[in-house]
Subunit: 153 residues, 2 copies
């Protein structure tokens, strides 16, 4: 067992703050969406992705990868969204095992109605606090970290 590489003081401070943000920010977004749209952040995120694609339809597995969720998580979510009439499932033509998640018109309307309030929340919680330069730095930092988090690529 190699010697532990403990965090330096600067790293420790950054880590505490970063960890706090990654705990509080999701909670804040969750709370806004729950309050204003009776929606989960993940649920909104998935519907928003669907709304931006051609035909408003994607394969389940592809959608799971895009939204950074497990297949099981997505499957449960889509089942709930389906009950509410915002999404429906269709068999994939090319592969009888696969399913397409399709955003319904009601689902599209829901996204359109929810987006402004959510975007405003993101602006006021995150970007209003940052300079243009910091936005770029954040982007680069996340781009550096991201590959280490996705086992696939």
């Amino acid at each position: 067992m190699a010697k532990t590489r403990w965090l330096s003081d600067a790293q420790q401070q950054a880590w505490r703050r970063f960890a706090a943000v990654s705990m509080l920010l999701p909670a804040a977004l969750e709370s806004q969406l729950q309050r204003d749209a009776d929606l989960t952040h993940f649920g909104y995120w998935v519907m928003a992705m669907l709304s931006e694609t051609q035909d408003r339809a994607i394969r389940m597995s592809e959608l799971a990868a895009l939204s950074n969720g497990s297949q099981s998580r997505l499957s449960h979510l889509i089942a709930r969204l389906e009950e509410r009439g915002w999404v429906r499932r269709e068999r994939a033509d090319e592969d009888g095992r696969g399913y397409l998640a399709v955003l319904t018109d009601a689902g599209y309307d829901k996204v359109v109605e929810t987006a402004p309030g959510h975007v405003e929340e993101v602006q006021s919680l995150v970007f209003d606090a940052l300079t243009v330069q910091q936005v770029g730095e954040l982007d680069e930092i996340c781009a550096a970290i991201l590959p280490r988090l996705t086992p696939g690529c």
Copy 2:
């Protein structure tokens, strides 16, 4: 209703990456701690905080604030940790309503045993990807965002 302040292209890109990191990083840490120590990230975080305090004891409400969790969440967590023998509760002397969460010796050992693997994971997922300068930038970015996330102060 004011006009929606949509995200600029740069903001949108940063947001997508940042959102992805805030989804994947917690999941990765969760997974490592679950696998290696049968512990939640929040559970580890709370025990680690307790281990660093004088007397290894803090008031529940204070611990909830420090760990960025709700009182209810902390209460449930401490109940589970208590069952496993890592924490116990004591009535607060000064205020009969309050409780102290106290880390037991077994709990302290658990933290000591778990810390190296967890720190190594943080190093390899986050800090190994960043330059010294980026660590500073990340710290400042989080410091700028943080006040907007804590309603209290």
